[in-house]
Amino acid sequence: MLGEGILKGLAETAKNFAGSFVSADRLTTVEYPEQRIAPIEATRDFPFLVYDGGDWEAGMRCVACQICEKECPPKCIYIEKSKDKKPDALGKPQFYPAKFDIDISVCMSCQICVEVCPFEAIKMDTEFELSTTDRFGGLLLDRKRLAKSNEYYHKVHPTEAAEVDARLAEEKAKADAKAKAAAAPKPATAAKPAPAAAKTPGGETHA
């Protein structure tokens, strides 16, 4: 009959209204700054740079290959490559970003930078309390503010970080084996291929 649906709907909302006073699971809202719900693992909002070890500048995984800068749809990443090289986690000398800025007021959280990064250097953060009184400088994050330790990454995305670590360890093992294999037959020339090997990734980046 006409009007039946309206009555049903009214009953449903009345149930909601009354129920919100008696049962807690009908009120899913929490009082945000005082109470917080446990973070969900899949949460992700803005990118950050991962570093290994204790020193953020030394342990930075990023090699300033600038792939993310080129892929970023809103062009919010700005990278300046260093002139010199430093040894990375594998011991290979690599370029490092002299400047790495992300304008998170432009960033659209698409995660494309994370997907294209070949070095597992950029990952998504869960930090969302980014409000600031300085709307230009405060939202343009430099590499110091972007750099976060691998432990932090493990804390916010444990599963994903474990996978990444496993993959990196595998690569490192492969690289070690290769180095060992290279070192074993001609121990005399062990010092020679190192600069050549170091030159190759740099050349690739330029290409």
């Binding site: 009959m1 006409l2 009007g3 309206i6 709907g9 009214l10 449903e12 909302t13 009345a14 909601n16 209204f17 919100s20 006073f21 009908r26 009120l27 899913t28 809202t29």
Partner: protein
């Protein structure tokens, strides 16, 4: 003591007036009444906004505002301060005079309609002989302010919203009038105090409210539908449908003028709920004869707030209608129903006391409702829309 509580405001006014020379008293009395109305209803408006936001929150499993003051009851104060301190923006090509006048006309017209509502025993500003007509005349004037707002803004959303609002208000005003006429037919007066007096009688403990008769119940339901549409409340809030028209006719309003529109809208709801209370729910009379000792104004304002709660409840429940559904509903279902209801009311009057009037009137109304509802729901204009090319 109890009589004093009932008449406390009347006595208070008389006491205040006793300080003035006799020649000034009539004018001063009117001024006092007006000031009282201008103070009480905006206060109720503030209360209602809190109720609405918290109630809607609960309906949607949220808590609602709870930061300003204990339990958030000072929220309207914060809102008021915010809207007062906001910049008043007038679009460059807007018609500045009309843009300024529109909210004023709305609020003034709505305030005027409170003049004839009996808010308690002996508590009515002007006991007009044609009170009901006056109320509807003032209600009709608000349409013009809506049009002025929409047209003067020079914004297509405003204009579209205003046209929708005016078309909707005109259509449902017919229904509103027609459903009220049945009350006038039985009570034999357009004087609202007289209509309340007619209902302030009891058989046993039950009152003679018009809602407790078949035609009264039908009339009340249609009155509620028309009142919701007339005040542009959900589910009839197409004129300000946010998803389509930004904010309808007050898109280009900000600051205090926007607050005035907001106030006018809620005052309109109060006025129309007050009239519905007066016409169908016995005005200030008590729901049971043994509760007659409670002051009459408590009953009136209690019923008023109760009907506001129903408005909020409906807003939290029903989705917005489409424009063609709205118009078809008004002209093809509700208006014929009100006409049938008028016939039934006449029948009720002429059948006289007895069980026949109850049986016949109920039977006719239920039969017409069911049959017409079935037929309309099946018809192409009323049910789900069929697209000519999309399917």
């Amino acid at each position: 003591m109890i009589e004093n509580a009932d008449q406390i405001f009347v006595l208070l006014q008389a006491w205040l007036l006793s300080f003035l020379p006799a020649a000034w008293r009539p004018a001063a009395g009117v001024v006092l009444d007006v000031v009282a109305i201008i103070c009480v209803f905006p206060a109720l408006f503030a209360l209602t906004t809190v109720l609405e936001r918290k109630g809607l929150g609960r309906i949607q499993n949220r808590i609602g505002p709870n930061r300003v003051g204990p339990l958030g009851i000072l929220q309207p104060v914060a809102d008021g301060i915010k809207s007062l301190t906001k910049e008043d923006i007038v679009p460059l090509r807007a018609d500045a005079v009309l843009h300024f006048l529109a909210p004023l006309v709305l609020v003034v017209a709505v305030f005027m309609s409170f003049a004839v509502l009996p808010m308690g025993r002996n508590m009515v500003l002007v006991d007009m002989d044609a009170g009901l007509l006056f109320f509807f005349a003032m209600g009709a004037s608000t349409e013009l302010s809506v049009f002025m707002a929409g047209w003067s803004s020079r914004n297509k959303y405003s204009l579209l919203g205003a046209m929708r609002a005016v078309a909707q208000m005109i259509s449902y005003e017919v229904v509103l009038l027609m459903s009220s006429v049945s009350v006038v037919m039985i009570s034999g007066s357009l004087r609202l105090t007289r209509i309340v007096e007619e209902q302030n009688q009891y058989s046993g403990i039950f009152p003679h409210w018009y809602i407790f008769t078949p035609w009264g119940l039908a009339g009340f339901l249609m009155y509620v539908v028309a009142a919701t549409a007339e005040t542009n409340r959900s589910p009839f809030d197409l004129p300000e449908g946010e998803s389509e028209l930004v904010a309808g006719y007050f898109t280009e309003y900000s600051g205090f003028k926007f607050a005035l529109f907001f106030l006018g809208e809620y005052l309109g709801m109060f006025a129309i709920s007050g009239l519905g209370t007066t016409l169908f729910l016995g005005g200030w009379s008590a729901p049971f004869s043994f509760l007659g000792w409670v002051p009459s104004w408590i009953w009136f304002f209690g019923k008023l707030m109760l009907s506001m709660c129903v408005f909020i409840w409906m807003r939290g429940t029903l989705p917005r209608l489409r424009q063609d559904q709205l118009m078809n509903f008004a002209w093809k279902f509700v208006l014929p129903m009100t006409l049938v209801n008028l016939m039934v009311t006449a029948l009720w009057r002429f059948l006289g006391e007895g069980w026949e009037q109850w049986v016949f009137c109920t039977a006719i109304l239920v039969a017409v409702y069911v049959l017409m509802g079935r037929a309309e729901m099946r018809s192409e204009h009323f049910g789900p829309r069929r697209y000519r090319y999309a399917e």
